[in-house]
């Protein structure tokens, strides 16, 4: 495996979170990530008791988006493949969950194991779709890849209308979800249960992604991104690596879409438009391409910014029609401007700025002591 390591030019190694100690602390990587996930889970549980139900729901939505943005980070940031079609992949996961949950409900089946099965099915179906798109994507570069995935993002939601016998057109499907288990008590808030569900699924997905990134697969991802020819000379199967990255990314996007469907208890094509795909991309770019922590910033923004503009428009006294236009479009405009400005001014994104800041502080600290 030394060959694949050599394929990553040292100067191009992104200084992302936890990148540097890879080789020295390999043995403890899994443990470290586990501890981190456990801590995050504890914090999440504590927060879920501390905040009101609506915030719980918002955090659950953040978790669902985080699945998708983390997957896209792996694909675009670490493997260098641009996908504008992740909204469509999320739709695949969402509709699969809807089908499964409806099938279970129709047969009168109940039980705590049903939802994980549905989520698993969502991942499997998205992996299948992702593999097909990924095989095509591995042969495409730059603007061609962007164009194809854009076409996927535009066309797939339209399919729900084309085959409305199956997908029920613009109206979409409802997703029956069972209430929280009785063992949690009769007054357990539903939103808290949603946060637990989404949080657990997302933490599990992130844990797997984080380990994948630190593994030799992660290194081949980056090697292919940095220089395909060098990677090939180093014995890396470039196409296979790209398909793998796409499949992994699709799986998390599918899970994210499935979680969104479970949270909203419905799916409709309108929720998975081209705009969603662009939002995801924006979240990844603003968070910082290639940084898993950046995906979190992006996901938070996706939920927080519309909420913020909602509050702002409520403060202003506007006619209802104007307020509605503003509320629907202001977040989009801000997202768009941010995307442009970040790409021009700070291609490292928020997490890049933070890391740079952190490094600058660290660099000063020992200097002052010595």
């Amino acid at each position: 495996m030394s060959a694949t390591q050599a394929a990553v030019p040292p100067k191009q190694r992104p200084a992302g979170a936890g990148e540097r100690p890879v080789d020295r602390r390999r043995g403890s990587t899994l443990l470290r990530h586990l501890a981190f996930a456990l801590a995050a889970a504890l914090v999440l549980v504590a927060v879920s008791y501390a905040v009101e139900p609506f915030r719980n729901f918002q955090l659950a939505t953040v978790a669902a988006y985080l699945c998708a943005t983390a997957g896209l980070t792996v694909l675009t940031g670490l493997n260098g493949q641009l996908s504008l079609g992740h909204g469509a992949l999320m739709a695949t996961g969402a509709y699969t969950v809807a089908f499964c949950q409806n099938a279970f409900a129709d047969r009168g089946m109940t039980g705590g194991w049903l939802l994980p099965v549905s989520l698993g099915a969502a991942i499997v179906s998205t992996v299948a779709v992702g593999a097909v798109v990924g095989v095509a994507a591995a042969r495409l570069r730059g603007p061609y890849l962007a164009g194809v995935t854009l076409a996927v993002a535009v066309v797939v939601p339209a399919l729900a209308v084309t085959f409305d016998g199956v997908f029920n057109g613009e109206q979409g499907l409802s997703v029956p979800v069972e209430p929280p288990p009785a063992s949690l008590g009769p007054y357990f808030p539903y939103e808290r249960w949603q946060l637990w569900l989404a949080g657990a699924a997302t933490l599990l997905a992130l844990l797997l992604l984080a380990n994948l990134i630190r593994s030799r697969y992660g290194r081949t991802f980056r090697a292919v991104r940095d220089d395909e020819v060098a990677a090939r000379l180093a014995g890396i199967h470039v196409a296979r690596t790209q398909v793998l990255a796409f499949v992994v990314s699709a799986a998390t996007a599918g899970l994210g879409g499935a979680l969104l469907a479970v949270l909203a208890q419905s799916v409709s094509p309108g929720a998975f438009s081209l705009t969603l795909s662009l939002f995801l991309l924006m979240a990844v770019v603003i968070g910082g391409l290639g940084r898993l922590a950046g995906a979190l910033w992006g996901a938070v923004l996706l939920v927080a910014l519309p909420d913020l503009t909602h509050s702002v428009t409520e403060l202003l006294t506007l006619s209802p029609a104007v307020a509605q236009r503003l509320e629907g479009n202001l977040p989009l405009a801000i997202f768009g401007i941010t995307l442009v400005v970040v790409m021009i001014a700070a291609p490292g994104g928020v997490q890049g700025l933070l890391s740079r800041l952190g490094r600058a502080l660290l660099a000063r600290w020992p200097a002052r002591r010595s």
Partner: protein, 292 residues
Amino acid sequence: MDRFVFLTIDGLSRGAVYAAFALALVLIWRAARVVNFAQGAMAVAAAYVAYTVAAETGSYWLGFVVAIVAGLLLGALVDRAVMRFVDHTSPLNPVIVALGLVLLIQAVLGMLYGSEFRPAEAPFSRSALTVGGIAVLSPYDLFVFAAIGVVVVGLAWMFSRTPVGLRMRAAAFAPEVSRLLGVNVGGMLTLGWALASGVGALAAMLVIPTELGLHPHAMDLVFVSAFTAAVVGGLDSPPGAVVGGLVVGLLLSYVSGYAGSDLTPLAVLVLLLAVLLVRPGGLFAPVVARRV
């Protein structure tokens, strides 16, 4: 047979618009090595301006001219104010910036005009004239063919016969050498953006009356079809873009006529994937597949 003739003409008319839009994509691709994913949104913006002017003044033709001018200016603005500052070393960067512009432009349009479909009138009748009992061309189809014919011939003449066309080609092929020969490469790039955006605006003006109407997302699917057309022709070839546009227009017309209009988006996707996987250089490219 009647139906086939009708679908063919309709397809060619639609294809002419795709050809113009694809041509605009190719112009920028050749000049700047950027696929302008914001072109649909920019063209819609120009069309909104045009219909506002037309509504205010009551003159469709004034609006038409304003659309082209607005397109030209918007293209120049996007180049000068945005694209010039983007680091082009990774091909991802300009694509991402263009997508940011898509979000921004569509949001601004939504804020100003709302997200409802607005009816867009056509300047000529869209009902077909019948020749010998067969419905053939509508006056509007004729207008579309004429307008796009003028643009295509005009652009071809400009690029092959005029000094500014020579400068633009030189600047696109070899920017450094061109600068040494006194060519204002930055200016040529801006001119390329402006021209492409103007052509895009024209295409939007021609296609919007034939669809559901004016809407911030009105050009999304048109963009995908035109991108497919450009890929079919090979992104580098203006004649290829024109032929590709007509091919895509015909195909979509037949699919929608014989299999149902709901299937056209899927048909575009299938065609795009098929072309890219079988002949990534386009149907007319002498070189096959660039495998890195």
